[in-house]
Symmetry: D3
Subunit: 61 residues, 6 copies
C-alpha cells in the first residue's frame, strides 16, 4: 500500500518511466511516512486509438 | 471528469470505437451538463484467454 | 462483457445515473451487437477532496 | 457481479490462468452464494518494465 | 504482486470478506508459486444504485 | 492524460492529499513534458476491512 496506477498513451521511454517511478515513490514515502517497499506503481499504456477526448479518438484528433 | 473505462474482449473495429466514443460522450455531456472536452474514455481490450466467465476462459468456452 | 466504469465527482442525482445507464447500454448494444444483459456499468463516485486537476484538489479549486 | 481483476506481471501460462479462474470462481460462488455465470474475471498482464516496486522498475530490480 | 480487485455490491459480511481473502490468497500462492505476503486484495463495494445491468440500476431491477 | 489513481487505506489527511497531488503533478509534468491541466489524480480510499495482505484483512492484522 498504496498502489498507484498511471494510465497514459503509449510512447513514453523507459527512462521516463524509471524517473517517474522513482519520483512518485519518493513523494509518497515522504508524504505518507511509509517505506518504499510498500509502494507499487503500474504504468497502463494504451494505443491512441483506444483513448478518446471530447468524443474523438486521440489517434484522429 | 468524468473518466470512463470500457473493458472488453479484443476484436472491435476502429469504426466501432469511433462511434461508441462519440455516442457515450454525447450521452454524458447531455445528462451531466458538462463540456465534451472534460470527458475522457479509455478502451481496455483484453485477449479472450485473459477473461473468464463462470470459471472458464472465454477463449475456451 | 463489456464492463464499463464511470468515475466522477459525487453529487449526480439518481435520475442522471438512471438515464445515463440506459443510454450507454443502448449505445453499446447497438454498436457492438451484444445483448443488454451482458453490459455492466459501475458508477465510481469520489469526494471532490479526493480528485485533483492541475495539482489542485477539486474541493479547493 | 462480482467482477474480479487480477493485475500481474506478464509471463503466467494459460494453464495457470485456467486453474486460477476455476478456483477463484469456486471460492466466490461458495462464499457469496452466487451462480458461477455472474462471476467475471479479468487478468491484466503488464510488462515488468511497466511495474515498479520501491521506486525501481521490476525489469531492473 | 499480484494485486486483486473484487468489485461487488455492498452488503457482504466481514466474515465473507475474511474467508474470501484467505481462499483467494491460497489459490494465487499455490497456482503462481508466490509468497502470501506479495498478494494484495481490494474489496470495492458499491451501492446498488451505482451499478447497472441491462440498462437498469440494480437498486431498481 | 495521464490519469493517476492512488489506491490506499482510509485515514490520510486533507493536507497529505493536497501535498501529494501537487508533488505528483509536478513530477508528471516535468518528466512527460505535459501541462498540469491535463493531469488528473484520483485518491481511492478503502476501509482497512476491505483490504487484505497475505490472506488477512488489514483491520485484523
Amino acid at each position: 500500500m498504496p498502489v498507484i496506477t498511471i494510465r497514459m498513451a503509449e510512447g513514453r521511454t523507459l527512462e521516463q518511466k524509471r524517473v517517474l517511478a522513482d519520483e512518485i515513490t519518493a513523494a509518497v514515502t515522504k508524504t505518507f511516512g511509509v517505506e518504499p517497499q510498500v509502494v507499487t506503481i503500474f504504468f497502463e499504456e494504451l494505443k491512441t486509438e483506444s483513448i478518446a477526448r471530447a468524443g474523438k479518438l486521440l489517434s484522429e484528433s
